[in-house]
């Protein structure tokens, strides 16, 4: 075990999320949280490898489709061509390898977001956004858009809400049916990796208001 290994992770990923990551269908913003949690949690790593074994079993039973006759010789001829593999950034302090990769190897460049909260967006696609959040102790986690699935992974410190207490390595899984107000626990700042699905619905204020009241 390395010094950073989280042996006391209490809040884990769910099976469908791990299966979707194993199948390669999880959008990038959510996949980053999964890859980071798996780097910290042996039990979810084992679950992931079991799902990958399932994928291997399905691959084994898939009917072969004939290839172009030239493909094997062409591939053999390419084996000696050097390939430039992008370096894989290593863990730095509280930031596991996948986060360092998303940061392109540099420390975060925090941007103030009010109330002492800071953030850095790591990836924003039409499907969603993943960001690092820095929340001083005692401060509420800002509402960073709560439509669809939201994964929040603690890297440092801890936060609590109506559903429980979340420390380093813990991941909170929330969807739009969960009403919660996470607050960073007193003490050192809470640093989280937070992924949210892109708001897919209404953009004008009237339906948004309706959305809030009707909880649709």
């Amino acid at each position: 075990m390395s010094e950073h290994e989280m042996t006391d992770v209490k809040h884990h990923l769910t099976d469908p999320i791990i299966a979707a990551y194993a199948a390669g269908t999880l959008p990038e913003h959510l996949a980053l949280v999964v890859a980071t949690h798996v780097s910290l949690c042996d039990s979810c790593r084992a679950a992931l490898e079991a799902h990958e074994a399932m994928g291997g079993a399905v691959l084994d039973q898939t009917e072969a489709v004939a290839l172009d006759d030239d493909l094997l010789p062409a591939t053999l001829a390419q084996l000696d061509q050097p390939r430039t593999e992008a370096p894989v950034p290593a863990r730095q302090g509280i930031f596991p390898g996948p986060v360092m990769a998303a940061l392109k190897g540099h420390p975060p460049r925090w941007k103030a977001a009010g109330m002492g909260v800071k953030q850095q967006i790591l990836c924003a696609t039409p499907e969603g956004t993943v960001r690092l959040l820095y929340i001083p102790g005692g401060v509420a986690v800002p509402d960073h858009g709560h439509k669809g699935l939201e994964l929040t992974l603690v890297l440092q410190g801890s936060f609590s809400d109506e559903t429980g207490h979340f420390g380093p390595g813990d991941v909170e899984i929330a969807d739009d049916t969960l009403e919660h107000t996470p607050i960073a626990d007193p003490g050192p700042a809470c640093i989280c990796l937070a992924a949210t699905d892109a708001p897919l619905r209404f953009n004008s204020w009237v339906p948004r208001l309706a959305q809030r009241f009707l909880k649709i």
């Binding site: 199948a23 890859a35 042996d42 399932m54 079993a57 691959l59 390898g97 996948p98 699935l149």
Partner: protein, 199 residues
């Protein structure tokens, strides 16, 4: 799956007499001896299946062939990462092909967990490798034994046709059936992971 046969296995720990599947032997020969004949053998075995797998998952034939070739090139270049204690060859090639598909179709870097490294000086454990191969066989049998509709859900899930929402809604029943098998594998994996470290 080819029947296992008795072979000499040259690992980091020296000569060992053991019985590995032909796929595992070929993959170890690629990893440890850069054996091109072994690569050609795995290519003939896996590349047409990867192509079929990708076509079933919605790829066009030409693109499926391109991704299958890229996946096999990665098998060659990333062979040093293959650890037969952790994944059987099919599972490992599945992850390689999946990553190649995401990289080439979505043109985005797929976030990957940190690699776990074997403790320096640890010797290959032939018993563990064989046990993992046997589990993979049992897993295949468990899937083959599912009712057709349930098997289809499992196939669609790993072919990449289901979103995580659809997975939560549709996979309950077949997963329940296979769960005991996976749970068995999980216990073993958890145990194995204790001996490994992240860098």
């Amino acid at each position: 799956m080819m029947p296992p046969e008795v072979v000499a296995c040259c690992g980091h720990g020296g000569e060992r007499l053991t019985e590995f599947s032909e796929e595992t032997q070929a993959m170890l020969a690629i990893r440890d001896e850069r054996d091109r004949a072994a690569f050609a053998k795995l290519f003939r075995l896996f590349a047409p299946r990867i192509k079929g797998f990708l076509i079933k998952g919605g790829c066009g034939a030409a693109q499926a062939e391109e991704i299958a070739q890229e996946a096999m090139l990665r098998v060659w270049h990333k062979a040093a990462l293959y650890d037969p204690h952790r994944a059987n060859v099919s599972a490992w090639i599945f992850t390689i092909a999946r990553n190649a598909r995401v990289d080439m179709l979505r043109r985005e870097a797929r976030p990957m967990p940190e690699e776990m490294k074997e403790e320096p000086g640890s010797e290959p454990d032939a018993g563990q490798i064989v046990a993992l191969e046997q589990e993979a066989t049992q897993l295949r049998e468990a899937i083959a034994g599912l009712k057709p509709a349930q098997r289809e859900v499992i196939e669609r899930a790993y072919l990449g046709e289901l979103t995580h929402q659809e997975l939560s809604e549709e996979m309950g029943i077949p997963m329940g059936t296979i769960k005991s098998r996976i749970r068995l594998g999980l216990e073993r994996l958890r145990h194995d992971l204790k001996g490994l470290r992240t860098p």
